[in-house]
Symmetry: none
Subunit: 284 residues, 4 copies
């Protein structure tokens, strides 16, 4: 019995040396949102044995899900551990915030009653980059996400190309494809706001529109990896983004594999995302 | 002892089953074209040891190339042998015709001075399906090709959905994307014809136009596999075909991998094409 | 007994499907040299079962050796079979001529008493490219060789860049590094000729001199792969060719691995050579 | 039963042996430089479980980088752990100092305003060899580095052959190739000094010059491993060092692989460096 206890005392050293760690119940107190917000984190296998800083990937969940999605459905621990062990990914920290997308989502609402984007940049990032040993600079910071979180990846990187070296929208909602489409959607969505607010919101949240209006120099500040299955209902926005970025001569990767809007698809995408952002973190 | 001898007697058959055969210097005398036309053939490993008939894949080369392209650059022998040995592909015969695309190409010209499409259906298919032990029916006949030959795959299957169970355009030229684009191209191409002939030609050779004008029931008669690298200059037509087929609710596969308009890409596509057409030949 | 004979009757089919074939006792009757010259050939595994044409690699032996060197010491059969089976090399025909280097070598002598280079281009190439199913064009023709045969690879491709798509000199003698060095060598070598003939010979057979005097456009017509071990006594000429080609902005590959002027080194080089020339034969 | 418990007791040690440790935020207070200097360290997997001393490798970063380069871009932890686990490398400690090369670099400046070389030998080495369980003798001390740090590897070992058993310059800046070249560079570099100081600096910092002027007996005190990709812009100095060392009959290894001035190249070089220095630490 005593010996078994000794064993357990040593096991942590054993475990840490081969396996990363996830925590899915951390939180940040947000003044901007006036509430506590949850997030999950992945720490690489050598986090507790070494004393170094790491690059960071912000990994966003989809609508109707929360910060535990990538942990439970996405198998972020097993997949990232394996990608690191295979040399496909550099060790990195992964932050998975809860955007409460059931009701509100990743963006500031048109009437600014919900300011998640402000929270993300002004409160979440500073707090986690202080709390964990993260290299707090654009060069070592990337963003990825699926569906609505793919939309978050697109928009955060389009709005703040000074913040991310790479963005990987998966099966992304690319925002309304036209002002008409946007107006048709408004009835179904919780979007209060004046006409001017709604127009400003559209201009800032349609990915295809932003490719037209943003300076090419800004679009080129981010390495893009766009991935959407051929059976995904969000096929059109992603195919149009491929075309729009090509015509604007913005370098980007585009992938279409067999599959739909499913975790099976995203679990296959995750190692590719890790490899893609690692290329930048590795400086080729 | 006897059993060992028996084993040795079977070994040769085992061995023969490991390698197919290519011939790259066959030809058909065409009355329609008024000339002899070359083609290459791939015969599966068991062709000479068995007495059965096989499905057939017509595999088209790109512009500036000829019937030897898939043999030399495409490694059709090694790749198909391997796909069959791995159980990914059913044994099939592959016919690779020479379309002389340097000058003319796979289609009848607007003025009907060059009638390759007629030659293909009325002379080439009947001759090779008689000469080799081919199952001469739609169910066991598929078409694939790259670039201009991807255009041939699209058009032949769109024009004659009664003839092919599957079509696999790779990095395909999808025809002009609009009548305006077509008119702009005419100056650069060998297309003599009256205004009416050119309009009829456009209507028959724009893939996106045909998706709009053909009955959905006809479009669904063919299983589609569309594949085009994200660095390919022909990205737009293929992405638009994905969107057009989705909106018309025509089942199809669409793939985009890393890569450009290169044989490296097409050698990676070929096993997928063989697997896809085999699914149909196998009846799932 | 009877059954065993049957087995042997079938075995050739078995064997051919997995293994290429070498013949080391073929010959060409040369009018230019006034004698019969031997050569060896490698035929790829599918040569006898298929009916297609193949690219060709001319593979030259070193001083003191003959056309059997690459067969016996170089293991050309096993290495090429494996490179093809691994997908590293495209199936190709390899021609290994006998240059009788004990006495004379690959080049025309200064006094033109020995015209091996003329024999190579005017008699050997035409005969073997007719005798075997070789694609007789620059695009599908490459040259490689070791030591004195590396010198032959350099000079043949420098003299006739219209003839070879790739040249791979291994541990190559690069010719005299200066006119002074050449004069110092003359005493030791069988080189009769007038002063003018010797100067012309130097100008035509010093690789570093040729990089200076030939038009860059000609140098760029050939893909170069230069490889010489760090313990090789011919290190200097190859390192200087790397520098000279860099300064002339001629794309080329240069490799230095651990090793000397040995067959152990060249057997490791051969798969790299096959892969490098295949890249060109494959059209990437 | 007892045996199984014993087994479990050993497992932790087994586990711990699989992962080393890096720290990227250590520092030395330098009187010579009048400031604090950072460095990173790699400790082998058995460092904390054993009570032994280890050989040491000083591993230098390139211009524009710092002491974290080999940790983040070079993956020193994963690569060294693997090389040790594979038996390719002996367990060793790796010290990665910050040379602040953005402004000044590894050498004393001509006017002695910046004396990093003095700091390196008189302060850094003594402190880290006391702080960690390092075998503080030439036999167990090696130096390696990339680009400007390759230059540091060359110069430190050329200046102090009594200090290092092995030196491994990767893609190294070898110093000016001639006094004329040096004078042309001076305008672009932060090098204040009298004419005499600059001449002395050149004589001490041109690797090819030092091979000519240093006694061969000193050059032979160090085992040399020189490695530079064939697409590297620093190709010339390294090829010339190969030639110079050959002519001076100084044993050395020289490697040229496919690649340029990139971390992809250096990550492939690192295991070779570890193996090469281990040969010396192992005494063959």
């Amino acid at each position: 019995m005593k010996k078994i206890i000794l064993l357990f005392l040593f096991l942590p050293f054993l475990g840490i040396s081969q396996s990363g760690k996830v925590m899915d119940n951390l939180s940040v107190v947000s003044k901007i949102l006036g509430m506590e917000r949850k997030y999950a984190v992945y720490l690489p296998p050598d986090y507790y044995t070494s004393e170094r800083s790491y690059p960071v990937l912000y990994l966003l969940h989809g609508a109707g899900d929360d910060h535990t999605g990538w942990v439970q459905f996405g198998e972020v621990l097993q997949i990232t551990d394996k990608a690191i062990a295979d040399g496909k990914s550099t060790p990195m920290i992964i932050i998975m915030p809860d955007a409460d997308t059931k009701v509100r989502g990743y963006f500031n609402s048109p009437d600014n009653a919900w300011k998640y984007e402000d929270f993300f940049f002004d409160e979440l990032i500073p707090e986690v980059e202080k709390k964990f040993r993260i290299k707090a600079s654009k060069r070592f910071r990337a963003i990825a996400g699926l569906s609505m979180g793919g939309g978050g990846s697109f928009m955060y990187a389009l709005h703040r190309p000074d913040m991310f070296s790479a963005a990987c929208p998966l099966s992304a909602y690319t925002g309304p494809l036209s002002m008409e489409a946007f107006k048709a959607q408004l009835a179904n969505r919780n979007m209060a706001g004046t006409e001017a607010q709604l127009e400003a919101y559209y201009a800032k949240h349609s990915a295809t529109e932003l490719v037209k209006t943003l300076p090419a120099a800004d679009l080129k500040k981010v390495r893009w990896f766009i991935d959407c299955g051929d059976d995904d209902f969000l096929f059109e926005g992603n195919a149009l983004m491929h075309i729009a970025l090509k015509k604007a001569e913005i370098p980007h990767e585009y992938r279409v594999r067999q599959g739909g809007h499913t975790w099976t698809y995203w679990r296959e995408s995750l190692p590719e995302v890790l490899g893609f952002v690692s290329l930048g973190f590795h400086q080729f």
